[in-house]
Symmetry: C2
Subunit: 219 residues, 2 copies
DNA sequence: TAGATTGTTAATCGATTAACAATC
DNA sequence: TAGATTGTTAATCGATTAACAATC
């Protein structure tokens, strides 16, 4: 029996946050950030549920994945909850990014101050178009594609951002993986394949629009 | 018995495509577009499954929501499948959009040719910053916020795009709804509330990044 | 204390997968 | 025909919701 318990104990901690929960954690995070900014000190699961269109049950289940406990009769202390969420999402540290593609989307990312403000630091930008080489985006000069490996090493890049035309996406992904990035943010509509150890997330901007238009047609 | 059958028949056609299926339909669409472009004429559910990391069972279930049938032993004809997907997603028509916010993100959308190419026509841009009024983005002049109602009527705007700072997002959403748009694309991390009849989709760029960093921390 | 809210278990609901008869 | 692939039903799996004891 003791052995069984031990096994249980040993397998449990490797608990993965299920994907729908993870998506909601990001929602809680922005909401709670807003509340602390307003000076609200306590929030209940039902209040969060109301704001985000969920049930209080879902909220409590979700927050139980965090290393943070609420208080009976009071709810969750916003300051602690914010910190716990930031910690779970990696929002309490700095992430180094390299953007490939200096087109409109790539430039917008580099110039958008929100990313920096939230710890997503764009350290380098590359583009295959040699006429863009040397172009200045804020403090960064657009580099050649063959500079990717060196840039990844030099700046300890965690995340490669794919902001190139659709048909170049997989090739760029391969280059970034080869250079040693641990994660990819894919801004193109293409499905990207990467080896086991490399995480890929799709920004799905076009997909969002298409989901929206699908819905609009039913009206 | 006949009555029961009739009721079943009458309730069924109002079938809604479940959200996870809808998300995958956009993936099938880009994949099949690629295949037709390459000249591939037939594709099987298992081929699609391989490319997108799904099971063939899921693919067949999903495609059964379309008004299009495969052929035993051959699979799905890519040309017909592409058309059926385009039709389901509203990708076979033109959608009129108004962008609020002429910052980096808003400008990128207006200038990005992919949206136009896919039928998402940005007809007007507004910004609350009067110093931006009159600024030219391609063929469009940035307009004042109070021009929103007129612009929506004049261009028969279907979709309002929210590309403003986070704390202005809900206010802009309210203005757009008031002006009569049927759908909202929210590019901010904020949760937006809108009345029943108005569809909202979140682009979740920052959320995608945070999901990614959460995953990276486990490594 | 009394009442409100958490944390958690159990029940329900929905989505994914397996399996297989129909079929070209 | 024989073999491969669909469409669909049934089984499994996972996520959401309901319910309630624990608690501050």
């Amino acid at each position: 029996m003791a052995i069984v318990d031990t096994v249980k104990f040993m397998t449990n901690p490797a608990r993965v946050v299920p994907s729908p929960v993870l998506k909601r954690l990001t929602d809680y995070y922005t909401t709670v950030q807003g509340l602390t900014a307003e000076g609200v000190e306590w929030v209940s699961s039902s209040r969060l549920a109301d704001v985000l269109g969920l049930t209080s049950s879902t909220v409590r289940q979700d927050l139980s994945h965090l290393d943070f406990a609420g208080v009976s009769k009071r709810g969750y202390r916003t300051s602690g909850l914010e910190k716990a969420l930031a910690c779970a999402l990696g929002a309490d540290r700095i992430w180094n990014m390299l953007v490939v593609g200096a087109g409109n989307l790539g430039r917008a990312l580099v110039l958008h101050p929100e990313f920096r403000r939230r710890g997503f630091m764009i350290r380098a930008v590359c583009d295959s178009d040699v006429f863009k080489t040397g172009l200045k985006l804020r403090t960064l000069e657009v580099q050649r594609m063959n500079q990717i490996p060196q840039a990844v090493k030099e700046h300890a890049i965690d995340i490669g951002v794919i902001a190139v035309p659709e048909d170049a996406a997989q090739g760029v992904a391969d280059l970034l993986v080869e250079a040693g990035v641990k994660g990819l943010l894919n801004l193109t509509p293409t499905h990207i394949t990467a080896p086991e150890g490399v995480a890929v997330t799709d920004a799905r901007i076009l997909a969002s629009l298409q989901e929206l238009t699908h819905t609009l047609m039913g009206k």
